[in-house]
């Protein structure tokens, strides 16, 4: 049995016992998608439902996104990043810790559909995976891809692949990867201002302002988002590039110090914008200035809610 199958089985068993034992009212996990390369969010409320739960490398969405405002007791099938966001949401009072059961899944990384499409542009009918490869079939063809070649960027620099604060892990820990060293950003920052501005403007030129990135983000639970504000209207509603830029900058700022690099935003983006570039600039700043990583402890204080009298800020004259 492959490791994935084992994890799937463990998730189902545990989910059933949690529901039966009354420790959870709902298990939020993934089911097999109706399209290839997709594991869809799934809400299991009965032991029978649990048979639909699966684990795969297509579980890209961050399920912590479904916690805020929920009144039921939730068991959350969580990757390292999902678990960290769940911890963050507890810290931010979005979900009570005593109702939460984190069913941690040590994660070996999630597949980037765009990377797959780049390697196999033909229409894909089915996708089947083993522990380290993906078999794709389509009208008149079949292709095998090595999983490591098509993982998402953020999964390649994930230092917390095994959930840190899970109530229970469904499998053995997976080794952590070296964390994002931001070397590409450092190289980008070495370029001229003009080049950088061009880079970032190009990055978002296709943005539709659909806000899927926001909606997929577990940090974005505000009852009213600044983009929807009318008095004052922070942002124009058109596709004006500066309004679009402002959206991405402020979205980044709002996530600063809270982002776990789960990549849900990029997964959700229908036009494949690397929206996390903005977050990464800030992640880098947060890390360099305050050595802070979110979601690693229940009582962590996000960097914008605290200060040090000697916070470094040489640019302030």
């Amino acid at each position: 049995m492959s490791n994935l199958d084992t994890l799937t089985q463990k998730i189902r068993e545990k989910a059933k016992s949690l529901l039966e034992g009354g420790q959870a009212d709902v298990v939020i996990g993934y089911r097999t998608g109706t399209v290839p390369l997709m594991a869809a969010p799934f809400f299991a409320r009965t032991p029978q439902d649990c048979d639909q739960l699966v684990w795969s490398s297509f579980a890209r969405l961050n399920l912590a996104n479904y916690l805020p405002g929920r009144t039921e007791k939730v068991a959350l099938v969580a990757k390292g990043c999902d678990a960290r966001n769940a911890v963050g949401q507890v810290a931010e009072n979005q979900y009570p810790k005593d109702k939460l059961f984190i069913l941690g899944v040590p994660c070996s990384g999630q597949v980037d559909a765009a990377k797959v499409a780049a390697k196999e542009p033909r229409p894909i009918q089915t996708s089947e995976e083993t522990d380290d490869s993906i078999k794709l079939t389509g009208p008149g063809y079949s292709t095998d891809l090595k999983k490591e070649d098509v993982l998402r960027r953020n999964c390649l620099t994930c230092a917390h692949r095994t959930p840190t604060l899970a109530n229970e892990l469904v499998g053995p820990e997976v080794p952590s990867l070296p964390t994002d060293d931001f070397s590409d950003l450092t190289a980008l920052l070495a370029k001229s201002s003009e080049e950088r501005l061009t880079y970032f403007k190009d990055l978002i030129k296709d943005c539709l302002r659909c806000y899927a990135c926001r909606n997929a983000c577990p940090l974005c639970y505000c009852p009213v988002c600044f983009v929807d504000e009318t008095r004052p209207q922070w942002l124009g509603k058109s596709t004006d590039p500066m309004d679009t830029m402002t959206f991405h900058l402020l979205r980044g700022l709002h996530c600063a110090g809270r982002c776990t690099a789960c990549g849900a935003c990029e997964t959700a983006c229908p036009v494949n914008i690397k929206v996390r570039e903005f977050n990464r600039v800030l992640d880098k700043t947060v890390k360099e200035n305050w050595s802070y990583e979110p979601g690693l402890a229940w009582d962590q204080k996000p960097p914008l809610t605290v200060y040090q009298p000697n916070d470094p800020a040489d640019f302030i004259k």
Partner: protein
């Protein structure tokens, strides 16, 4: 007191920081205050300081709000240029006669535009800058002076001395000059008097060896302070005075005119010089970009206050050199700078060059004050400081007279402020029946409700004489203003702030039904309250007001660019109108105040606080976790002045127990807290619920239990308190003992407790003196790091030495070694001066154990008040609010704040009570105005606003949504900028309003 007539007014003499604090506390407690100041303006010495230690706060920044508050307080009558002539009568009803000297300026007319001073031909030394630059004969004391009114120096004015000139009168656009002004005598009645005459810095002219008189590069610390000041003669640039070059090396010489009984005849320690010298050294280093070498020559470093020791450590880490040596002589060098001749600790005679030498001169009582004390019949000590007792630290020898600040002894700003509040409490302890009999209340008509009306903005553009109009094309701005959306009426005015303009404004508001007012004139910092009062008088909510600062920020700084300045004035007016159109009337709500205090801690601090409150007519509940009251004082023998603590304490206990206003809850602690200022509800461990308006935390501290020097192993190694208990019990073994070794700094000034416990040196020296007096044959050794007998306590140190107590210094790296051989104790020490090992065989070794905090973190959490890293409760502001917490209605006193001797504990307790009275005295409190509010529909309950609120004014309600406690909110807006979904909004500074301003700016 037999007197029938009690006057509800108090005179405060001296407008420095102590006087100001006393005046405000008095006025806010329901007493009318006559504030008498001999100079043109209040502010005192603090106005001259650049930064304040140990926080390096900008001095002017922190006092200017106080200056403005005093200047504008309806119940503080400011009498500047005034001398006290006599005070007759007795406590409760004094008749004061003062002489008000002529200013030669009509204060009601002067708009402080400064036209007069620009053209005044008479230049003379500027005292504000320690005579390092010049001022004119018509002048303001300093730019932020209150009252901001010019005055003429009669002795220097050419017109007043020679009858010619008159330039200022010709130039004054407000016709405010009155050369005919005359001195007048004024008589008024007060119930008591608070004296805060302050000090003058010691003039080092008597020390010819220091060469202050003839060498330019030898300067005083206050002169150096002015060099450091942004408003000083070099605008903060550190220079070598002889040639204005950047100095490379500087020296500070400590104890100039202090701890010196020969020429200066000032035996006392000035208490503040070590700290200010370190501060100046640090700031100087900062100003010179680090290329400055600073050495401080000292006898003992006395960094005994809260966070002072850390400051000292910081200075050492910053590379400031500390050399323990008294300077032998100063030799000027031909190319500038001087050579200092000194002998190091090791006995090496050294000659070292310095570009600048700063003399850390002490604080001295002025001759005028000495005369005043004499004429008022007040007892003073050898040094002219007022005599007080440990247990009544702000009461003077003549009943009805109280003092604060340096008058009772050299001290720093927070101690002065603390004493000022204490003096306010003490000075009114017998005036309670007359409270609120003489104070005035502003009566305003009920504002008309403009909710829902479209904005009708009235715009008033001020000429300010020629101050604005000579640069800005005012009529053009008026025409422009008329074209702006929602502007109903726009006009110009010669002086918007003048009485007649204010009346016109009221009339126009009514005539045109104006519901928003914009005044384009000067700074809202100075004038907004005035116009807001006018709005209120016109029946308009005072928050429907916005100001454009087209004078300070425009005409005065763009005089050479009239076209651009006019455009800027138009833009600024447009911005103000844009914001004004979105202003809404702000409600101020009234909440009840429960006139009861909860005092936590039944030690000296708590008992005094409760008694002080009782004398003011307020009830309190004292919560004491022990089974008896008195706290640490139960163990102390005598005070440094020799007073018996036991006697005092038993009197205190009786008074408390017999006081019907005081309820004692022994064996109790607070277990739960709800509410906020005015309406606290605390549950005690016994289940009793106390409703109270204010809380005073006086939980005290503990003596550290040493884990060295054989403490706990040999019963003749004892702590100070234990030794006091032996003395109290008249212990026979102690009486028979011949040799005593005192070891100082046990547990203090060490890595885990980087603070000085403040009281131990004095305690030791006092005990040593007492032992010596009892038994002159006793051999007493004091092993110390620095002796810190600050202020007049220095006399004790001298006395001890005179009596033959041996003081031996040790280095923290080479602590004394205490060993025992059988019953015999042996103390071994390397004397850093002689280099010899000394061995003592004491009968008793007395350890000056540190004072450690009670680490009352739980209490802090319950009342939402912070503790610092050493566990001391953390005050709202280390300089100016030493007994307040940032959270309203919360105060502290005693050792919970920081170690301190008993007189300071008593003063702080009285101060806390005085501060509490300012809350309790109001039956209802007004809250609201510019405070935050939460739109709960937008609130996700994430709590970021709660985390960033500096005043703990935000909480999450039972639905998990944020709510603002208007009684605690100060209107900083931190919540509004931190919330991602804009749920909090700061009234008066809403997103929409600021957004409109930004848009109008572009």
């Amino acid at each position: 007191m037999a007197s029938k007539n009690i006057v509800g007014a108090v005179m405060v003499a001296g407008g420095g920081v102590a006087g100001m604090q006393a005046a405000l506390d008095l006025a806010n407690a329901g007493y009318y205050v006559y504030m008498v100041e001999k100079s043109l303006a209040i502010g005192g010495r603090m106005a001259q300081l650049d930064k304040t230690f140990p926080t390096n706060d900008c001095s002017m920044c922190i006092i200017s709000p106080k200056l403005v508050e005093v200047g504008r307080h309806i119940n503080v009558e400011l009498l500047t240029l005034t001398d006290i002539l006599s005070v007759e009568g007795e406590e409760g009803d004094f008749t004061v006669t003062v002489r008000k000297n002529p200013r030669y300026i009509d204060m009601s007319k002067c708009i402080a535009c400064g036209e007069c001073t620009k053209k005044c031909p008479r230049k003379l030394n500027n005292e504000y800058n320690e005579n390092l630059d010049t001022r004119k004969a018509i002048y303001v004391q300093y730019a932020q002076a209150v009252p901001l009114k010019y005055g003429i120096d009669a002795k220097e004015c050419i017109y007043l001395t020679k009858g010619k000139c008159g330039t200022c009168k010709k130039l004054c656009p407000a016709d405010a000059i009155n050369y005919e002004d005359k001195a007048e005598e004024i008589t008024f009645h007060v119930g008591s008097v608070v004296l805060a005459p302050g000090f003058t810095p010691f003039k080092p002219t008597v020390f010819d060896t220091l060469r202050y008189n003839d060498v330019k590069d030898v300067i005083t610390a206050l002169e150096f302070e002015r060099y450091l000041g942004a408003t000083g003669p070099t605008m903060g640039h550190v220079i070598r005075p002889s040639d204005h070059q950047d100095p490379k090396k500087m020296a500070f010489l400590q104890c100039v005119g202090s701890r010196e009984v020969n020429r200066a005849a000032n035996g006392y320690c000035s208490s503040v010089c070590c700290m200010y010298a370190i501060k100046e050294a640090l700031i100087a280093k900062e100003h010179s970009g680090g290329n400055l070498d600073v050495t401080l020559f000292y006898m003992d470093i006395r960094t005994f206050g809260k966070d002072f020791e850390k400051y000292y450590e910081k200075a050492k880490a910053a590379g400031i050199k500390f050399v323990r040596s008294r300077i032998h002589s100063v030799q000027p060098e031909s190319g500038g700078g001087v050579k200092l001749h000194y002998v190091t600790d090791g006995g090496v005679s050294t000659l070292e060059f310095f570009d600048v030498v700063v003399l850390s001169h002490g604080l001295v009582i002025t001759g005028e004050t000495k005369e005043l004390s004499k004429s008022l019949g007040l007892e003073t000590d050898n040094y002219n400081f007022a005599k007080t007792s440990t247990f009544a630290p702000v009461a003077l020898s003549r009943p009805g007279f109280y003092a604060c600040g340096v008058f009772t002894g050299p001290k720093d700003i927070p101690s002065s402020v603390m004493e000022a509040s204490a003096a306010a409490a003490a000075a009114t302890s017998k005036l309670t029946p007359a409270r609120s009999t003489l104070t005035k209340v502003i009566k305003v008509p009920r504002p008309v409700d403009v909710t829902g009306e479209p904005p009708r903005v009235g715009v008033f553009i001020c000429h300010c004489g020629i101050n604005i109009a000579s640069v800005v094309d005012v009529p053009k701005v008026v025409e422009f203003a008329k074209s702006l959306p929602f502007v109903e009426y726009a006009t110009n005015t010669m002086f918007a702030c003048s009485q007649d303009s204010q009346e016109k404004l009221i009339a126009l508001i009514k005539e045109y039904k104006l519901n928003r007012i914009v005044v384009s004139a000067c700074s809202p910092r100075t004038h907004e309250p005035l116009f807001q009062e006018t709005l209120a008088a016109a029946g308009l909510n005072k928050y429907l007001y916005e100001m454009a600062n087209i004078r300070n920020h425009d005409s005065w700084v763009h005089a050479g660019h009239p076209a651009e300045a006019t455009q800027k004035a138009m833009d600024m007016t447009e911005m103000a109108v844009a914001k004004a159109a979105l202003l809404v009337p702000l409600k101020e709500n009234v909440i009840d105040v429960d006139p009861t205090a909860l005092v936590i801690g039944g030690g000296i601090a708590g008992l005094n606080a409760a008694l002080t409150l009782s004398r003011q007519g307020f009830k309190s509940v004292i919560v004491e976790k022990d089974s008896k009251i008195g706290g640490n004082a139960n163990r102390i023998f005598t005070t440094a002045k020799g007073e018996s603590v036991a006697d005092y304490l038993s009197d205190l206990k009786t008074r408390v127990q017999n006081d019907s206003n005081i309820t004692l809850a022994l064996n109790s602690h607070v277990s739960k807290v709800d509410g906020y200022v005015g309406n606290f509800e605390s549950t005690l461990s016994g289940g009793q619920i106390v409703k109270h308006g204010v809380t005073i935390i006086a939980t005290g501290a503990k003596e550290y239990k040493p884990n060295e020097y054989l403490y706990g192993e040999n019963r003749r190694v004892v702590t100070q308190l234990e030794f006091d208990e032996l003395l109290k019990a008249d212990d026979q073994a102690v009486a028979a003992a011949k040799t005593f070794v005192f070891i100082q700094c046990v547990g203090s000034r060490e890595k885990e407790r980087m603070y000085c416990s403040k009281v131990c040196c004095t305690h030791t020296v006092h005990t040593a003196v007492e032992l010596k007096k009892k038994n002159p044959e006793a051999r007493i050794f004091v092993l110390y790091r620095d002796i810190r007998t600050y202020a007049q306590k220095e006399d004790l140190y001298k006395e001890a030495r005179d009596l033959g107590v041996i003081f031996i210094r040790y280095e923290p790296e080479r602590k004394p070694q205490v060993s025992q051989n059988g019953k015999n104790l042996s103390v071994k020490l390397l004397d850093p001066v002689s280099g010899h090992h000394l061995v003592m065989e004491p009968d008793y070794t007395i350890l000056a154990a540190a004072i450690v905090s009670g680490q009352e973190h739980e209490l802090g959490m319950m009342y939402k008040v912070p503790l610092d890293e050493d566990g001391w409760f953390f005050e709202a502001h280390q300089k100016l609010r030493p007994v307040d917490f940032a959270t309203d209605g919360m105060f502290m006193a005693g050792l919970a704040h920081y170690p301190k001797p008993m007189e300071e504990v008593v003063a702080q307790a009285q101060a806390a009570a005085a501060r509490a009275v300012t809350v309790l005295t109001q039956p209802k409190m007004t809250v609201g105005g510019i405070v935050a509010e939460i739109d709960q529909n937008r609130c996700s309950g994430c709590g970021v606003c709660k985390s960033v609120c500096p005043y703990s004014a935000i909480d999450l309600d039972d639905k998990g949504k944020a709510v603002v406690n208007e009684a605690m909110c100060k209107g900083c807006g931190n919540c509004a900028s931190s919330c991602r979904s804009d749920a909090p909004s700061l009234r008066g500074f809403t997103n929409a309003g600021l957004f409109a301003q930004i848009d109008a700016a572009l």
